[in-house]
């Protein structure tokens, strides 16, 4: 069996790191040298506001995933542990802290030092804590966007009014904070333009994601986990639109031709949470068995059209219902919807050793999806960036057994 024949890589995704990731970090370093303000931002930070205020925003999470993909995360995690950080903490956090404490041969030259940091409560405890540590190391101010928790697990249309109001005020406080840091006022017109661009970016990404509902699926998880960088970091910029247009055209073309990301697609899966960055080959392992990850749980969480006349409210409706910020009910609803839309055969619920938010409740999600739709899930004990916490032999055996079980069901 020749392994190469099975996958049909996307041209647009070729050299993604070299073409898009590395230049981005180079640019950030350059901007820093030129005295432009650099901010470190955490998951669920409304990036449009920062773009509108001309801030270079870097995502330590993204950096951690880059380090892991380039096989340097283990040594960085160990560096953080040498400083006294528990080995059970989030490996993204350990990785970034390690890169500060022991900055030796870092991918992309490391992260540029922040002028200020922004964390939000929307993802996890870890973000605030980890950013506090960084803010102390560099003696740079940290802003916390205090988001209301989606206690009842509702969607964006059904949020409590008080939540939206609080969120809007938090955005206002965040803008005041940034203005104080930069001495520059936010330009409302510019924000409007950014929102329009962000909407365009969002439309393109949604369109791409919609094509993945087709059988065979034109794009898989390996591609999506990289491509989503533009939604996360560059929503509201022209380069995001450019990139997604190209990707959309290629994916659309594939659907027309009936060509999938793999030959002979047999099973369609969902991947919950983060990939094992240091072993993206795992997706090929699945593909060899005829299984394609047609959708990731996070890929559409960041989507959502904004109303340019009510940007803050739109941001509230987009970010508060993120399932990381919501009761597990929301995750169950969300996975039910994805399972139907993407005609899935199974779900892979990847935990993350250092992440409570992702791991707690997976068993109830699994049982609920089984009961509602008769679709099985596999709960995996793994770690996104610390390879010591994933037993690869066992992971592969679990995946194989799971796919074989799907085969028997068919």
């Amino acid at each position: 069996m020749s392994e190469k024949k099975i996958e049909n890589p996307l041209q647009t995704m070729r050299g993604f790191y070299r073409k898009h990731v590395e230049p981005f970090y180079e640019e950030a370093h350059r901007a820093k040298k030129e005295g432009k303000p650099v901010a470190w931002v955490a998951s669920t930070t409304p990036i449009e506001i920062l773009h509108a205020m001309d801030i270079i925003a870097v995502w330590p999470e993204n950096y951690a995933s880059v380090c892991a993909a380039l096989q340097t995360s283990l040594k960085l995690c160990q560096a953080a542990e040498r400083k006294g950080f528990s080995k059970d903490l989030c490996s993204y956090a350990k990785c970034v802290l390690g890169s500060i404490y022991e900055p030796v041969s870092l991918p992309a030259g490391g992260l540029p030092e922040p002028d200020f940091l922004i964390a939000a409560t929307g993802a996890c405890d870890t973000h605030l804590k980890w950013f506090q540590v960084v803010s102390r190391i560099y003696r740079k101010p940290l802003f916390l966007l205090d988001m209301p928790y989606n206690v009842t697990g509702v969607d964006g249309d059904n949020l409590e009014k008080t939540w939206i109001e609080h969120y809007k005020k938090q955005i206002t406080e965040m803008i005041e904070f940034i203005e104080k840091q930069t001495g520059k006022e936010m330009d409302k017109n510019r924000l409007k333009k950014v929102v329009e661009l962000s909407n365009k970016c969002n439309d393109l990404w949604t369109e791409i994601m919609n094509y993945r509902k087709e059988t065979p699926c034109p794009m898989g998880a390996r591609e999506a986990f990289s491509a989503i960088l533009f939604m996360l970091s560059f929503a509201g910029t022209k380069r995001a639109i450019q990139f997604y247009e190209e990707l959309r055209d290629e994916v659309k073309g594939r659907v027309k031709e009936g060509k999938g990301i793999i030959e002979n697609e047999k099973y369609r899966l969902l991947w919950d949470n983060l990939p094992l960055w240091y072993n993206l080959g795992l997706f090929s392992y699945l593909r060899q068995m005829g299984a394609v990850v047609a959708v990731e749980a996070f890929s559409l969480v960041w989507a959502g059209k904004m109303d340019p006349s009510k940007p803050f409210e739109s941001l509230a409706r987009k970010h508060i219902p993120n399932y990381s910020n919501s009761s597990i009910d929301r995750k169950i609803e969300w996975f039910t919807w994805l399972s139907k839309e993407y005609k899935l055969n199974g779900l892979i619920l990847a935990g993350n050793w250092g992440c409570r938010m992702m791991s707690i409740g997976e068993i109830d999600v699994r049982d609920a999806i089984q009961e509602r739709l008769g679709i099985p899930s596999l709960v995996l004990d793994v770690d996104a960036a610390d390879p010591r916490n994933s037993d690869m032999e066992r992971v592969k055996a679990n995946l194989r057994a799971f796919v074989e079980m799907l085969g028997k069901k068919k």
């Binding site: 528990s86 540590v133 205090d146 008080t162 938090q170 791991s359 707690i360 068993i363």
Partner: protein, 370 residues
Amino acid sequence: MKIINKFREIISNKHEIARNWKKQGKPVIGWTCTYTPEEIIHAAGALPVRITGDLEGTKYADAYLPTNMCSFAKSCMDVALRKKYDYLDGFIASNTCDNYGKMYDVWRYHVKTRFNHMINTPHKNTGSSREFFYIELKNFKDLLEKRLGKKISGEKLKSSIRVYNENRRLLRKTYELRKKNPPVITGRETLEIVLSSTFTSKEEHNLILKQLLDEIEERSDLPEEKVRLLVSGGEIDIVEPIKIIEECGANVVADDLCTGSRYFWNIVEESNDPLKALTDRYLDQIPCPFTYQYQERFRHVMDMAKTFDVEGVILFPIKFCDTYLFDSPQLTEELKNQGYPVLNLEWEHSMTGVAGLKTRIEAFLEMIRG
């Protein structure tokens, strides 16, 4: 010293106390986080009880919960699955840490307490977060009124605040007893005193505390003079961890625990707007590390170490308790800069690995004794 045993008795009988309370036709409400304004529950005529774990294993909870979560929360869940908390009328959680925050849902699905509620708690105490918490507390009050069929008037709330403040003042006085050398009460006894106040009515607790304060100075079985330590961590809800430290040859004379000083350190202002006063008190209390204003906890640890004249500090968070674990290295550094030796430990609620803990504590004490 008979009176000191009272607290221990309350702890061993906590479920019975709650059941007896129910027998009198009065509701019992379980809460999980020190950011829960118990006064509101008290003002509704209900008994607020802190949800805690035990040492009987987690085999039921393990069926629903992953390995990589805090074993304190898991133990609480297991106790509930063993139906020990079936007397609860309501279960109140907070989104204050990821462990309990997400476990709230698992509790809702499987324990099925009559009603469940999560208090949407801000992670900082400035700007709109304060207004938001005020509204949340008002919603909480309305919910309790509805579920318990009791009106909570401003007057009732004020009088509950007075009862709670009295408890806080008495506990502060009790802590004074630890400033002497040797301390008049041990660390284990202190933990029992604070914990027991969350399992019985504050009125009763106040009575026993007063009696204790009247009698304790005449104590004949004074603790011995030993190395004076401060212990810092989250919810130590069983005495074993403190017991182990003291058995190794130390007196725990001060703490920065969620089940210790931080539970009662701050008083509620007795003002005309009791809900506002509660909002301020709970947001401005010596903070838990889940908050933005974590430096104030560092300051609290420093102040305590100084005023209680300790010779060393043990940072003792539970395994997987991220918010504390992220603070540990820098807190250690600050303490060391102030000249305090620091030992970093992590514990497991099941108390496995005790032998290893003991060795490290003994070595630490040896080092302090010089």
